[in-house]
Symmetry: C2
């Protein structure tokens, strides 16, 4: 009940926030950064309490690490806010303009989605990042953090609310939910929340995707592949494989399965094994692979596993078609790469592999909002609608249609004496 | 089980269809139109059997009417297919291009969504329209029609499959599901279906939206409003209200609730009543309205009702803010219009009303894909993500990111000697 009431208030606030001018939003962002820096000691104190309690409650070490929010992280999120301020205003852009008839003009204009529900584990910096991205794009936000970060999150959301509303941002635009009730309550609020963004482990994201009818922006698994084609430069292949697997092993765009064309396997695999042995990468191979290099056998489950560890599964394929089929069936439609010198083979791979990011002769590790130059990253999506791959602020936007007439009636465009539509493109910006 | 197998085949087919060239798709569309015309008698026979059976089963008259698929309708859908052929190829368009570094180029390229699930009542012409739209946009399609149109749908989908595959479109790209099993089975196939498009009554659409985690494109209610502002031209207001309410009463963009500023109510309502009486429109009014003209009292339920009949509810408001609040709370976020001579008031309304289509001084009846010049209409969406308002073929498209390198590694862009990204816009088309 408390959550529903909070969601109602946030929704009510979202209507006003959608029409808020650029200056007010940027002023509020500046005030938020200022407030976070000013109140660093308050934040650190709350965070230390969260950490102490979580230690007593035996929270796993990686989660404890992500829970930590120190001065370096405060400075990092403030820098992020300052970058946001410099971005051009995303709301109110005329995306297309069409004259339907004399004095009847149709404009497609960018606008916020409305209310974003953010559900995240541990990391309090995620709260600040997503809240300020929402503000910049005119979206209200309901946040549900993990109970381990409760005190930190409460301080952060209060500071953000106070600093922003003091600059004229409507009350209740941001609300951190705190009740002990399950996240389930939030997932049922389809009347108030327009989009859910989950941040956390793949099981956590999968749970959310499976338990709500609200659209979810994100990805669960990142089972990324590299296919070494018959026409590959093998030196390049080894370098790309090592970078994709080892450069940062616990991330969604790291390599998990290698597919090798039969014609090049005998040449590639021994060299590759030598290089990967140096990096302590455990190899698991199909029957054919096992005939060439000493590896653990890969079982069916391996092809479906996101290791996020120094483990690589290897399969030898007869053709590019078999490689593509394997990726489409076992992959997570995240990021997949081909190494080949043949443009024709590359084109085939890029067009037939059904993934958000399809790469030719480069590391899978490039699929990332910062590397893509998106400015700010909302997340990485394996959805097939709205936004795919690394998603910048445009993932928090939609559009509305504004039609400006002078008393135009539909009846005039039907029947025997029907007027015709002109449907003429115009280059005007919408000014209402 | 049968449905799951069919969905697997369709998904498999979708990967190939996504990469199909423009000529093949257009040739297939031409073959489909030819086949429908050639086999008109077969279609009519199946349709007559459906109608006869449905009559025996006492199907409601409006549904019976929509079930009818005669030569005029065959010709109409064939004309629609011919228009589709003339549309430029929607797949493979370079939407943006960015140099990340020398010889490392990122392209955002349009592509099909994958597998579209279409669930519809009665109208067999919807099957042809949506199937051919899917083909043009490279999407595979699973169709589940109402049992009343089973024979017609079977003939149509067989003819479409046969004509298209004979031109080189991959097998199984279209499949009409027919089992007696509930539509529920299809709604659970989130591993195979990327987007559901429902066509039918609002209860039917609402049921689908509430019972699947697959994204749904469409709208349930269309509770459209007109707000007559303090600064309105009242003659224009009366004309727009009559057109919006009466021009076609049973459609989602027809007017259901009128909001009138208190300052103009005494002037407007008597004239309006006279005009609406001539059209046999039943009026239901708030307490204030009842003091000015004789009307039935409107109750809370009226503000939430899509009549789709000659009934109009009227409420007098104290301000534009109250009007906006009413629309955002009771409306269905479909189409809402303001009548005013004040540009300032118009801008306020257009920016604060959270609807797909917001109109100034024109009829609500204009919110429609044909009138918007979209070429072909997939449906009208009240979603807040992906596509909003009347949706053309672009609603069936998403994009993928293609990154073309020459052995680029992420490791080179981190650490002490890190290379910088250039992030330079380029104007090239992606040619792989």
């Amino acid at each position: 009940m408390e959550i529903t009431k909070a969601a109602q208030n946030t929704r009510e606030s979202s209507f006003k926030l959608a029409a808020l001018d650029s200056e007010t939003k940027n002023r509020a962002l500046r005030a938020i950064a200022h407030s976070l820096r000013q109140n660093a000691s308050l934040i650190l104190k709350a965070n230390q309490e969260d950490i102490a309690r979580s230690k007593r409650e035996k929270l796993a070490a990686p989660l404890l690490k992500r829970l930590k929010f120190d001065e370096i992280k405060i400075e990092a999120v403030c820098k992020g806010i300052e970058t946001l301020i410099t971005l051009t205003e995303p709301v109110g852009k005329t995306l297309s303009a069409l004259e339907l008839d004399k004095d009847l003009e149709l404009f497609k204009v960018s606008c916020p989605i409305g209310v974003i529900g953010v559900i995240f584990e541990s990391r309090p910096d995620a709260l600040v990042q997503i809240a300020t991205l929402c503000l910049k794009s005119g979206n209200a936000v309901l946040l549900k953090g993990g109970s381990e970060a409760q005190k930190t999150n409460r301080v952060l959301s209060n500071l953000i609310h106070k600093a922003s509303t003091s600059c004229g941002v409507p009350e209740h635009w941001i609300k951190a939910l705190e009740t002990r009730e399950d996240v389930k309550q939030m997932l049922a609020l389809d009347g108030y929340i327009d989009l859910i963004i989950p941040r956390g482990s793949n099981n956590f994201v999968k749970y959310i995707m499976d338990n709500t009818t609200i659209p979810v922006l994100g990805h669960a698994d990142g089972i990324c592949h590299i296919y070494v084609d018959e026409h590959a430069d093998l030196k390049m292949a080894v370098d790309i494989i090592i970078d994709s697997k080892c450069q940062y092993v616990a991330v969604c765009n790291a390599l998990e399965t290698l597919l090798v064309h039969r014609a090049r396997a005998k040449e590639l695999l021994p060299v590759l094994k030598q290089a990967l042995d140096k990096k302590q990468v455990e190899l698991r191979g199909c029957t054919e692979t096992q005939k060439i290099i000493p590896v653990k056998p890969a079982v069916e489950k391996d092809w479906k596993t996101e290791y996020l560890e120094l483990i690589l599964s290897i399969k030898i394929v007869d053709s590019i078609d078999q490689a593509i089929r394997h990726i489409n069936n076992y992959g997570s439609h995240h990021t997949d790469a081909i190494v080949t010198n043949s443009k024709e083979q590359a084109a085939k791979f890029l067009n037939l592999v059904d993934s958000a990011d399809v790469f030719w002769n480069c590391s899978t590790r490039f699929s990332d909002g910062y590397r893509y130059g998106l400015g700010a990253e909302v997340g990485i999506s394996t959805n097939k609608i709205h936004a795919r791959g690394p998603v910048g602020i445009e993932g928090l936007l939609i559009y509305k249609w504004k039609l400006l007439g002078k008393g135009h009636l539909a009846a005039h465009y039907s029947g025997k004496q029907a007027r015709s539509f002109t449907h003429k493109k115009i280059t005007k910006e919408c000014d209402v």
